[in-house]
């Protein structure tokens, strides 16, 4: 929030870790967010912002409110207090599908794929917002509807190629191992061509090799498509490696915010992490 007032010159000094990537203005500004469930406070007075093209990580011990934060951002939960500014405009009472329409896509901590569908169809759902044909056209599957299906299939195949999952495109997602399911879920989010991508523990439960692949994909997405990424991740090595800025939550409160080195040196953060079994 404070960053908004800073002159251009200061912004230009923002650290950019990957060459060629330009971190831009604030796209998402969360101000004094509080969220509670029937008296239980999940988030208390949290403020932070996300800048265009950056990788912004949210870390914190289990139950710190990280996932709740993502749910607030894309409209699954509605905070009782606080303001959310997306591209400078304040949002009120936003439903998840409206957030999607504004270009926010996400993955889930527990895989939320459509189990009864193939990999291809799952990723195709990511194109949903961009498909314009109506019911009748679909029923006829003639001309426009078919053209549209094919045009979007082309886009989806690019995602499949990008994520290197060609050999499983027609497999039902339920039959895939965990690591691949995570990849498919990322694919579904990518197919929406989001400008803000929320990733909820994309590397949880993966082996080292799968983690490396996923890391590479995240960096590539950020780099090639300029997608802004908000990332929740437990693996500190990964977070510190690939994040531009990190915000730290503990018991629903913000206890640290800054570039990885700052966060690493932050006393509160160290205490929070030593206090728990990490």
């Amino acid at each position: 929030m404070m960053m908004n007032d800073m002159p251009q010159a200061v912004q230009a000094q923002e650290p950019t870790q990957v060459s060629g990537r330009r971190i831009g203005d604030v796209v998402l500004d969360l101000q004094n967010i509080s969220l509670s469930f029937g008296g239980v406070k999940a988030l208390t007075n949290i403020s932070f912002d996300v800048r265009e093209h950056e990788i912004r990580s949210i870390i914190g011990p289990n139950g710190a409110g990280k996932s709740s934060m993502l749910n607030v951002i894309n409209g699954v939960y509605h905070p009782q207090e606080g303001r959310i500014l997306f591209r400078g405009e304040e949002r009120r009472r936003m439903e998840p599908h409206m957030a999607a329409a504004q270009g926010i896509a996400r993955t889930f901590q527990n895989i939320a794929l459509f189990k009864g569908m193939s990999v291809l169809d799952n990723i195709m759902t990511g194109r949903n917002l961009k498909m314009k044909c109506g019911l009748l056209a679909h029923a006829l599957y003639w001309g426009r509807a078919q053209k549209e299906e094919i045009a979007h299939r082309v886009k989806v195949e690019e995602v499949i190629d990008f994520l290197e999952i060609q050999d499983i495109r027609k497999t039902p997602v339920g039959a895939l191992p965990y690591g691949l399911q995570k990849r498919v879920e990322l694919g579904r989010a990518l197919a929406a061509e989001p400008n803000l991508l929320l990733l909820d523990e994309p590397m949880a439960g993966m082996n080292v090799e799968e983690k490396q692949d996923m890391c590479r994909f995240i960096l590539d997405v950020n780099d090639q498509f300029g997608t802004t990424i908000v990332l929740i991740e437990h693996d500190m090595g990964v977070v510190m490696d690939i994040s531009d800025r990190v915000v730290v939550l503990d018991y629903g409160k913000k206890i640290g915010d800054g570039v990885p080195d700052e966060v690493r040196a932050n006393e509160d953060v160290i205490r929070a992490y030593l206090g728990t079994s990490h």
Binding site: V18, S19, G20, L120, R153, V154, E157, E158, I160, D161, F162, E164, Q166, D167, R169, D220, D223, Q224
Partner: protein, 658 residues
């Protein structure tokens, strides 16, 4: 475009690959020249499109300063644009040099230095990284052009360029100098070097084999004639581009016959892609066929009892009459009906699952193929054949003609090829497909081509009564017994090794009265066999010394003897005595090379006592051997080895006995 093609389409002028390409683009512009599974479907490129793309790449290379005679390194999987780069390079009178894509950077450095590479077209980031790594050692490397830009966005080295960009550049160049490329193609001659293929060579550094357009076109034309290939064939290109086999089948023959080559989506999808394409023309080294068969048998293990019974029942039928039916030999009506039924229930579906339903001709080469393996494919109706050749002969010397397949021969000399045997049995060949020279190695060239212009293959062999060539051994290994009969250790050892129970065999006999052999049993196969019989054993040494195992192996050796006896040239070298070694031959102990070839002389020295015992007719021999364990410690194994005699067969009577 068509005008230009019209020029090139003149029949008399089809003596270089660029002219062939332009010819196809004019004659069958819309026919598919290439397909590549990408983005989920088979993206198809017609001959006209290929020609257009090749022009663009060629002009792009020219614009970068590629000159006639320059070498172009091409590194990557079987991708259409890499094949196009081969032709593009040829258009400019350059010499494409394909490298094995999985080679590590230092190995590549040698070839790049040897061939003085200035230009390289590579597939992706992985290869680009290798090029950048070895660039300091290869200072003349000026341009690295990559096909797939993925991950290369932030590479700022000026030497790098994307193929897209190159093609764009080429398009502009082509528009500005409309006659340039046709002029370059016109300058080409059939006698120009069309490609350089590096042979690993058993000794020394790899040598670049220079082949001309004429050589490969001749080889391709001959093969086409033998098998009646048309422009309707489909072939799957999945073997390394740097291998002569791929260059002949996926490049030269496709260019000559005008058929379609199909590139799989990725290494993981080859089997699926094979099923989808269902090639009509197929080429694979023996190990591919062997792995397939193993998989078939393993997968059938899981099938229910009824299916398994059906499967084996009909495989028996196929074994009995399948190959004969394929060869068009007379077969009884009853067998024909059973085979037809088997085809409906087993062979047909099996071929469908393996992607072999549409195969008209399949070839294998590169190593000896076991007769059982070979017979299996033929019996289920896959027209699998062998050929024989080397990099130096465009992989083209002998082919098995349809209808006259002998499992242990490599067929008859191919069209345009003259084969003769030297006095020592070495196979000498002559023909239009011979190499022009080894690159920058006149000494090696002179050594391998004799005064009459015959290429010396280094292989020993002989023609049987029907004129089929049999390869028996490397010429330098072939010796004579005391009585003067021929002794080809490799030949005998291979025959022994085709039995699943025998893992390794070493035959001795040069200069001796008779042939004897060391045997290594296959622990897994024999172990299984023992378990099924309830034979207890504690390990390799114990198992190897069991009388029952000796029985088993003796049986195998006797079968080999019967086989040898049937062959007039070989009947003298039947195995008289053998022993089963107390330990497995091991590369760590220096007994095998790293590629698991027997180091004959080393073994002969190390086990001299055993050899003496074999030839002296002793019934047992004590031996103590030092071995190295995996952790580097040394240990000793000692054993009293039994030596057994084997029945031999009289040369002509053998047929009755067997």
């Amino acid at each position: 475009m068509s005008d230009r093609n019209g020029q090139a389409a003149h029949p008399a002028a089809l003596d270089t690959f660029p002219r062939l390409l332009m010819h196809h683009a004019a004659v069958r512009p819309a026919r598919p020249a290439m397909r590549e599974k990408e983005f989920g479907i088979w993206q198809t490129y017609s001959w006209a499109e290929v020609a257009r793309n090749v022009r663009a790449i060629a002009c792009g290379l020219a614009a970068l300063g590629f000159k006639r005679g320059d070498r172009l390194a091409i590194i990557g999987d079987n991708r259409p644009r890499l094949y196009w780069s081969v032709t593009a390079c040829q258009c400019l009178g350059g010499i494409p040099v394909m490298l094995y894509q999985d080679a590590v950077a230092p190995e590549m450095a040698y070839v790049l230095q040897d061939a003085e590479i200035r230009f390289a077209v590579v597939e992706d980031q992985e290869q680009v990284d290798k090029m950048l790594e070895i660039h300091p050692e290869v200072p003349f490397l000026e341009h690295v052009i990559y096909d797939d830009p993925r991950g290369l966005r932030h590479y700022s080295q000026p030497m790098l360029m994307g193929l897209d960009e190159l093609q764009e550049m080429g398009g502009i160049h082509d528009r500005n100098h409309t006659d340039f490329l046709d002029g370059e193609i016109d300058k080409g001659a059939g006698d120009d070097i069309s490609v350089m293929l590096y042979t690993s060579g058993t000794t020394g550094k790899p040598k670049g084999v220079c082949q001309t357009h004429g050589a490969f076109i001749a080889a391709a034309t001959g093969a086409m004639q033998v098998d009646g290939l048309t422009d309707r064939e489909d072939i799957l290109s999945y073997l390394p581009m740097a291998w002569v086999g791929d260059h002949l089948f996926s490049f030269a023959q496709a260019m000559v016959a005008g058929f379609t080559i199909n590139c799989p989506e990725s290494g993981d999808t080859v089997m699926t892609d094979l099923r989808e394409i269902g090639p009509t023309y197929y080429f694979a080294p023996p190990r591919v066929f062997e792995n397939l068969l193993t998989q078939v048998m393993i997968r059938m293990e899981d099938a229910n009892a009824l299916k398994r019974k059906l499967f084996h029942r009909f495989l028996d039928v196929a074994r009995r009459c399948g190959a004969d039916i394929l060869d068009g030999k007379p077969v009884s009506a009853g067998d024909r009906f059973q085979y037809w039924l088997g085809n409906l229930l087993v062979y047909g579906p099996l071929k469908n699952v393996l992607g072999m339903s549409r195969i008209r001709v399949a070839y294998t080469a590169g190593a000896a193929i076991g007769p059982d393996l070979f017979r299996f494919y033929r019996s289920i109706g896959v027209n699998l054949k062998q050929f024989y050749g080397q990099t130096e002969t465009c992989a083209y010397v002998c082919l098995q003609p349809d209808g006259a397949i002998k499992f242990d021969s490599v067929g008859k000399p191919a069209p345009f090829v003259e084969v003769k045997l030297a006095d020592n049995g070495e196979i000498l060949v002559k023909g239009p497909m011979l190499l022009k020279a080894y690159y920058k190695r006149p000494d090696a060239t002179a050594e391998s081509i004799n005064a009459e212009g015959y290429f010396m293959t280094g292989d020993a062999g002989y023609f049987d009564a029907d004129g089929h060539l049999k390869i028996i051994d490397r010429a330098k290994d072939v010796g004579k017994l005391k009585d003067g009969s021929m002794f080809a250790p490799n030949y005998i050892e291979n025959k022994l090794k085709f039995f699943q129970h025998i893992k390794e065999a070493v035959a001795f006999g040069s200069g001796r009265e008779a042939v004897t052999a060391f045997i290594n049993i296959d622990l897994e196969a024999v172990g299984n066999w023992a378990e099924r019989r309830g034979l207890p054993y504690s390990g390799y040494t114990d198992l190897a010394s069991q009388p029952a195992v000796y029985e088993l192996i003796r049986d195998c050796v006797e079968k080999v003897n019967a086989d040898l006896a049937a062959d007039p040239k070989m009947s003298g070298s039947q195995v008289r005595r053998f022993l089963i070694l107390h330990k497995e031959l091991d590369a760590d102990d220096g007994e095998l090379t790293r590629t698991r070839k027997v180091r004959r002389n080393f073994i002969a020295e190390r086990y001299a006592v055993l050899i003496d015992a074999l030839f002296e007719g002793r019934p047992t021999q004590h031996i103590e051997t030092v071995v190295k364990y995996e952790d580097g410690r040394e240990g000793r194994i000692s054993a009293d080895l039994r030596i057994e005699d084997v029945k031999t067969f009289a040369p002509q009577a053998a047929k009755h006995a067997a």
